[in-house]
Amino acid sequence: MSNPTPKSMAAPGITRSKAEAVNAADTRELYKKREPIYPKLAHGKFRFVKWVIMALALGVYYLVPFLRWDRGPGAPDQAVLVDFAHGRFYFFFIEIWPQEIYYVTGLLIMAALGLFLASALFGRVWCGYACPQTVWTDLFIMVERMFEGDRNARMKLDRAPWSLNKAWRKTGKHAVWLVIAFATGGAWILYFHDAWDTLANFFTGTAAPSSYVFAGVLTFTTYTLAGTMREQVCTYMCPWPRIQAAMTDRDALNVTYRIDRGEPRGAHKKNDSWDNRGDCIDCKQCVAVCPMGIDIRDGAQLECIQCALCIDACDDIMGKVGRPTGLITYETDDNIDRFVKGETPRYPFIRPRTMVYAVSLAIVTALMLGALVTRTHLELNSQRDRNPNYVRLSDGGVRNGYTVNVINKANAPRVMDLAVEGDPAIGVRILGAPDLMPGQIEIGPDRSQDYVVYLTLPDDAIDGPREEITFVVTDQETGETARSPSVLITGAE
């Protein structure tokens, strides 16, 4: 690699590649076959950050199912569990019922707003660092590099005829890819049933059929998307490259080639003057490291996931030729124009777009936190029978039927008073309340229970077509109450 020929007078340590941008504008064709991309390993601060984020993301994904959280007897002790069979979602101290899916909706809104805000400030940081497609592709390229070497070695190996050496390297790579893909699909299903049980059941053939289906599907998608499709996913399958055009603007930081500094580009020999030319020595290291196969010097393009590896590659070269780093850097479009005009850059992070996103995010976050903090463990809903609307009794009184639903979200059985506020003459009868004091109900832990309640209003107490009433349920121990307003229809004029 660092083997300067006598003809080249470049500074020591400078690397040149005959790299072509496979997706460059000039070489695009119709019905195009995928051109293999051989990203070269970059070294630098952004590559380091990406390694750290990859380790964190994979660590979280694979280990979280094994975290435990004690919820008492009868409840699962897995810290994060989506329990479809029993209709519960557990997240550490939070337990969500199906009718509370708005917490998830809120979380998705927060995620979307957070993504908008990040895009308005720093461009596609999600794509470049945190997207699973990026993380797993990075991991798969790492494996590829372990078996087949770096860029030049891989290109040479692909051009070479089949041999034992080529065969074992290719087989080994695909085998490790499949193992990782299977581990990815396998970890996914651990979020839906108890992780340790599923692990044991999976290999004895006794896990839920859905576990095998999802493990299989995700093994397939991980292997194909991260191993064989890579940049095709981002360019053709993902909507985000199209959406991002609406999310960023001229003031957003993007991975950008400083055209004002770099041009006119050209090869530079040691001791040549830097006058009347740009800093770009056209070594194409930015192209060589690019996992998307583009040339960042062509400007902003939808293929660019802004992984910043070209920054590392270029900074490395700039250091070696003795020019300032940052020829490729996080910069705004507006500032590039300013540099060209010789003006000083400005960084208006606070602008209407970012403020709208930030304030919306703060409001949604506050609402969701508020809802979470004030979440009760007792809920009451009532539904009045509408057919018949009311029942006239033999003594002239009137009776209405109600289905009263009591939800006990606590992990303990509770005895509660179920009462009706309104006309004191109203008689209450509750079906389905076994062997307790009148008006008392007992409800099991973590349960929703329906009761049939009949309210009777005597003839002499009827003084209008309807009476406003309220069902009230009160926990005898804690005093916690829940209320549900309703009406009693009398049928009187």
Binding site: Y31, Y236, V391, L393, D395, Y454
Partner: protein, 307 residues
Amino acid sequence: MSEHDETRETDAHSGTETTGHEWDGIKELDTPLPRWWLYIFYASIVWSVIYMVFMPAWPALPGLAGETDHTRGLRNHSERANVAEALDELAEMRASGFAALEGASIDEIESNPELLGFVRAAGEAVFGDRCATCHGVGAQGFVGYPNLNDDIWIWGGSYDEIRHTLQVGIRSEHPDTRFSQMPAFGRDELLSRSEIADVSDYVLSLSGVSADAGAVGRGQAIYDVQCASCHMDDGRGDRAQGAPNLTDQNWLYGGSREQIIATIHRGPYGVMPAWEDRLDDATIDALAAYVFLLGGGEDATARPTGQ
């Protein structure tokens, strides 16, 4: 794929040819499709062949594909068979509920939330199929068809009485059916028009409706002779004979003076079918408990009216 067409415009910004189409100044780039899209298309074709082999796909001449008019595929898939299987599964799921219901008293049903839920679900389904035609979806009744929600029972409102009524029916073809017949006093000329009007006024007065005192007096004399043997001297009826209580606020055939006159004139003959031979015992149990728990069921010992 296509040869370069010198006449086609190339977009200056992207370097891509345009399709040549233009809409209000907007042109479409002729951007290459990725080759793997074609591969997915081919894979779909292969999948369709596999599907046709394994699943019903082709119409067939009679006799060529067994009893059906289409190929059944290697899986021999049939939605009808699936439905039959699902119904069997459903019956199996319900069996435990019906088993728990057998021999349970109404108090046990009412105080057991699970059994109560089962009865209300199973009973509602049968009621909707069999009873709602006459009694209404909510069992609210119509003129001539009793409201089953209220506390008024012509033949008895205990769990056992309701079940018995369901088994044998009312004026049905069952040999042990509940039976009684009110004479058609007008049509059969047992009473004159003015006598029927007088009796009607008296009956109304039993429910607290004020009527002409003279007519009430004449009507009472007729009532004591013609009606009291079934409806009792005080007008509170007799459940043994299915004679309704005439003193309450409820009128099966309508409570206006004209409706009461018409009822006495023609002598009502309401019929309910016997269900003993058409529904199994467990289903009748569920139905009886459902009707009982609509709110009007009575204790077996209660004798609120007419007894």
